[in-house]
Symmetry: D2
């Protein structure tokens, strides 16, 4: 890596998370670091100091890394004065203007570090060489206050940011915030990454576990999940009596009795089909028997039977019926779920809090998890409890599963085409 610079960081940089963010930024952006000196404060009041050389393959990447380090309080080893450019017009900033953080900031002017006044996020940084008392002053201005000729700071050299440090001692009610990165990412590209991960796990002979709530069926996503099962992308399914009943109901009434699936969803129709579905499965002796007898001919449960998916239906006090396949004892069900969880390499948690928590309780922290729910609180709760590598998406399950299936299965087609090409 031919492009490199040396930066310095000091303060309570370990316990305030500064070093973690700095090292993380270098690695996330594809650079590397070489720590030249690291003096760790030996007790809670002592500050630490780090000097490291940061490298990247190209100057653009290096600049992106340095930007991140700068935001976290790093300064270049040999700071120069700030670079000032006059604003070309009212409300117009020069290219490469410096955009402020909301942290206390200093600017190096004429060899001296001076404090920036009225600190505020996303502003321009103006230096007035000849302030009211004849001394240079620095302050922020929002874009619409910038006037032609204002001396606007550009780049990041000569500017030092001081992110807040963790208060010494216990903080009382006030938590120490580290500005966690929130996840406003394009939904579709995230689903694409999950699809790629699923394919990788299967190609490596791994095990995929799906935990699914009844909303998967209500929202019309059942067919897409059945497709994934049929294509071999699901090794185990953990769900409840409700999920299975709704899925079977679609199969029974969608094809056997000639009813319109759309009408069947109509809530005015009440729960009669639901109860009757359970009654029919009891009469047949269970789901597998019902598949063999040709009573059930499509859907997620059908594909699970056909493809020997390890399926656990756990009972709950909300259940109608239940189906004969449902494990009504909570301890017995938990043990079955535990076995599934310990075998899994990746777990998809689809629109069910109850079952996802039950599975999450048994998972080692090394298993990858994907949590999808329309309710942000559910996603947060699931991400909080455990996996070290997790994706959370707040979205409609009725669009997530079909999109995921599309991306996973078009990968199969691409692979088939590629293989055909190689064989040709």
């Amino acid at each position: 890596m031919s492009h490199s610079r040396t930066v310095e960081i000091e303060g309570h940089i370990i316990d305030s998370g500064t070093m973690q963010r700095c090292f993380g930024a270098v690695m996330d952006l594809g650079g590397s670091f070489d720590v030249e000196q690291f003096d760790v404060g030996t007790h809670e009041e002592a500050e630490s100091y780090c000097r490291m050389r940061v490298s990247a393959d190209d100057e653009g990447t290096l600049q992106a890394i340095l930007h991140e380090l700068h935001q976290n309080g790093a300064v270049l080893e040999d700071p120069s004065d700030v670079a000032l450019v006059a604003a070309p017009d009212d409300k117009v900033v020069p290219p490469d203007f410096y955009s402020t953080t909301n942290h206390p900031t200093e600017v190096r002017y004429d060899g001296e570090w001076i404090d920036v006044e009225r600190i505020e996020m996303d502003c321009a940084l103006i230096v007035d060489p000849d302030g009211p008392d004849g001394e240079p002053r620095a302050y922020t201005k929002v874009l619409n206050a910038v006037e032609e000729g204002d001396l606007v700071a550009t780049d990041e050299s000569g500017i030092r940011v001081n992110p807040p440090e963790r208060p010494r001692g216990s903080g009382g009610a006030f938590g120490f915030m580290q500005g966690g990165v929130s996840s406003e990412r394009p939904s579709e590209s995230t689903i694409r990454e999950v699809a790629a991960e699923l394919r990788e796990v299967k190609e490596a002979g791994g095990n995929v576990m799906v935990v699914a709530g009844p909303a998967v069926i209500h929202s019309g996503a059942g067919d897409a999940l059945a497709d994934l099962v049929e294509a071999g992308y699901v090794d185990s399914l953990s769900a409840g009596n409700g999920f299975a009943t709704h899925d079977l109901e679609r199969s029974l009434y969608g094809t056997s009795l000639g009813m319109d699936v759309e009408t069947l969803e109509h809530p005015r129709k009440g729960h009669k089909h639901h109860i009757w579905t359970i009654s029919e499965i009891i009469r047949a002796g269970g789901i597998e028997a019902a598949v063999e007898e040709g009573i059930v001919t499509e859907g997620v449960m059908y594909q699970c039977v056909r493809n020997d998916v390890d399926t656990v239906l756990a009972g709950s006090i909300r259940d109608d019926g239940p189906l004969p396949d449902t494990v009504t004892d909570a301890v017995e069900a938990q043990d079955a779920i535990r076995d599934q969880a310990h075998d899994a390499d990746i777990v998809l948690m689809l629109a069910t809090l109850l079952h996802s928590v039950a599975v999450g309780n048994c998972l080692p922290s090394t298993t990858k998890t994907v949590c999808v729910d329309i309710n942000p609180a559910t996603v947060t709760q699931l991400l909080d409890r455990g996996s070290a590598q997790a994706v959370g998406m707040v979205t409609d399950i009725g669009t997530f599963v079909p999109t995921l299936a599309e991306f996973v299965l078009e990968g199969d087609e691409d692979a088939a085409i590629a293989e055909a090409g190689e064989n040709a």
Copy 2:
């Protein structure tokens, strides 16, 4: 309509909403009614009585209608005894078993109406002709309690449901619930219906107004919205400074400066591009000028300029900048929005509470509205305030808009193909 039956309904059937639900059910299911007698209780304690003949084109539809009326307390004019069938096995109910509501219920046995004990929803209704005191008894049983030989009620004749009536006088803290139909419908089919409505409005020369929040752009749905604008499906756009800036930022940095749009979304990059975008538009003199100068070459705002869409960008105290096109005075902005709202035949409210409320405040109750947001509270709040015909969807805007655009625009293709066929 050759299939018909006569039913009777009595009680506080107007102020408890019973008649509204009964008339609604007949119409929703495609039947018709002919009121033969209607005695309205002349004061608040007097009950009302309705006898009407209900007709449908086929027996299936008629039965579906009668089922709904039954759930609301209607009985056939000439009730017969309840039809009882012995349960064929433990936990198995006969076909056409009667599934209970949670309302007080009577059953007609041997010419007498007897009360059903232990009323509970979704149960079987059992009649024991020879109860403990030698009298017939009726009670509910959940499916897993049904025993072989139990006499299970089937169909709905001989069964009378008594839905709760509105308490006389003010109800205190306790609201009177009418069992509103909740909306567990397959998402995709609802989007398809909205797409059809959009196409109809445009074909009839109508006006489509879009109200959009910045999440439309963050979630990657900007391209799909731009496609709808380009295809002529948007007559006016009501948004804020943030929406326009994010959209313009994608155009400026996605193509002009050769940056990867994906990277640009990365929150670590901070707000510098955002501020710089505003600065560049100010320098150009506004969005239209920036389009004409070739600075902005794609996106929603670009298509709005190119297609003469009536656009209002309303300012807010959260804004950065703002853009020169943003109307910063709230009263002035409100007046502009008011003009858009009064011209609209259908309004799409996409992931913005602030702007949607502002638009909703000005809308006549006759304008159709579609509200989409990931937050159920936002959707509820918007539906509550006004339109008589509204669709609410709790879903991810990043999948809603692309799916809507696909359905609307594939309609265009279908039409083109059909036209080509006709011309051929």
Copy 3:
């Protein structure tokens, strides 16, 4: 009732819910009605007509009722012309100005009904006697557009509102909205009403069922619930293994082992106390035995044992342990809950979706229910499924239960004081 007026209402007034709202308004506001004529449209296209005399004890109440009826489209039998008053200043409306709805509206001027233009909610209604074409015109103006001298409509006479009617036939994706009254009421007064209801139920010898989730304990509301149990306000408790374990853990570690309850809540401490609590209760042979042995000396479970409260702890696949008292089989637990539910006269559902749904499934629609949760979706889901008389509150359970207990128990004190006074 000495004050009365006669109004007329016409249109699809039954199936659009108009009559229901009108009758409801009269009763809610304490008036009475006497229907003089009611012609019911005999089929779905025919309109209905109602003429009724509305009475109230005083003119203020009558006016409030007439206002509500007016909003729903009623007009006085003998309409007069609209009363117009000139605006005294720019942006200032006369007292008693008419504030518009968002429904199509007509105004009677010079004996003729004319349409109001630019209909919008919460505006002033202006009549220009001499419009552009020499004819009188009527239109809305927002407050800040009112000019001195504008002729502003006052009162409601001479104004006719036409609320939207339910579309004939099925409405497609677009639901028919009736402008449901949303519940922005002062929280504290609602809690006070619930407290009064609880006291009434108990005074009448009724049965109070409490369904409680673990958040009741986490949020610090356990003591208040224990107080209610001790004072005899709880007849049955339906909860889960988690609720009981958290409650017992507070008792075990708060008093037996001398630990600070506050520290115990600290999440860093992990789940060890939790597991150990279960282990200790197993060792004792169950909760009742642990109370008798003096291991458990306070809390909700302690008071339930001491006061013979019928308690059901239902198991779930999320449970740790479980406690020996927990019913792990879902069907068995459901049957036990069913018995509790059928005995209850009022049910408090406190911060638990799972258990509340299970209880709600078994409840007759005549049982009063109170649902409290921080999540609006939970409250909505519970209110949707069944009770005819229900209160829903979206609030923090940690403040709801203590406030409720305070109001209920201060009622006891008031009663004791009153009784002491009588005896003196």
Copy 4:
């Protein structure tokens, strides 16, 4: 600090956040540390090593600290073998049993470190000295699987936890989770801490800024906020036209016109009082004039005028009216808010997303903030953007403000009593 132990930690302990959590735990729990050796991995693949001596005033605190360090992978410098105790009964664990994390774990038995199988959270750790192949084995067991005589690990010595480390390079869709501590703390004690903070700020001559939404008034919390203003605990108020109008409406209709405040809240009454309130304030010439004329005699705005609170009412496109005091231009309003924000030492954000974001945009990261909203997403969004010391509470504003006022003002009473005592 007389009690101390030496621990070792190794791995990617800086960039995985391990050291940050370890230093933090020591300080949070009131201990101190002395780093004896710290070798920092000089590049991204090199591991780091830390040896430090941890001290505390008493053994209990030291053990609590060591527990936290252990959970994060620290081991005592001179590890001994694990301490094993036989389970006294089925499902009963020995006191001080070791409760597992979900991270990969090793146990030291007979001088050797062996891997623990079937890792899962909150389990007992069992060592079988004589496994299937004659070698010792270690594995987890859930409580209900523990059998009498099982050798159960106790304490933490001889057990090594290996928390997951941050993956090298960019993690793709999968974020690296650090198991953030979620905040299930008793609500009331948090409010008490905020009250104490408010009192401290005022005693130190600091500045308190309140940002308030209309829900403060709707929920009945207006009186409590007015009390805080009257007692001098509010220096500046940032709100909108809606907040002020609702507050003034209560004053105007609650006292001037003799109406019942409760009735006034009744949503059926519509918006007429709302509009009329605005009209009356316009007629008076503004809020201050209305207070002086005796038109407004109570409420938050009244107290703000009487106590010279710096008040900014920012306009929005949703506003009715607006009031003459409302700053309708967004840029002008932003500038006024900016001045308030820069003067504040602590900011209370009460049930308003729009105004809170506007204020948050201008705040330096060193200002303390308290965010209260019923919507968790709002609280999360506000905490994410900036302050280094922040409290977030998801709760009902209608109970938060009165409880806060009670705690703050009872402090005044306590102080008065104390002072009276001193003077006596």
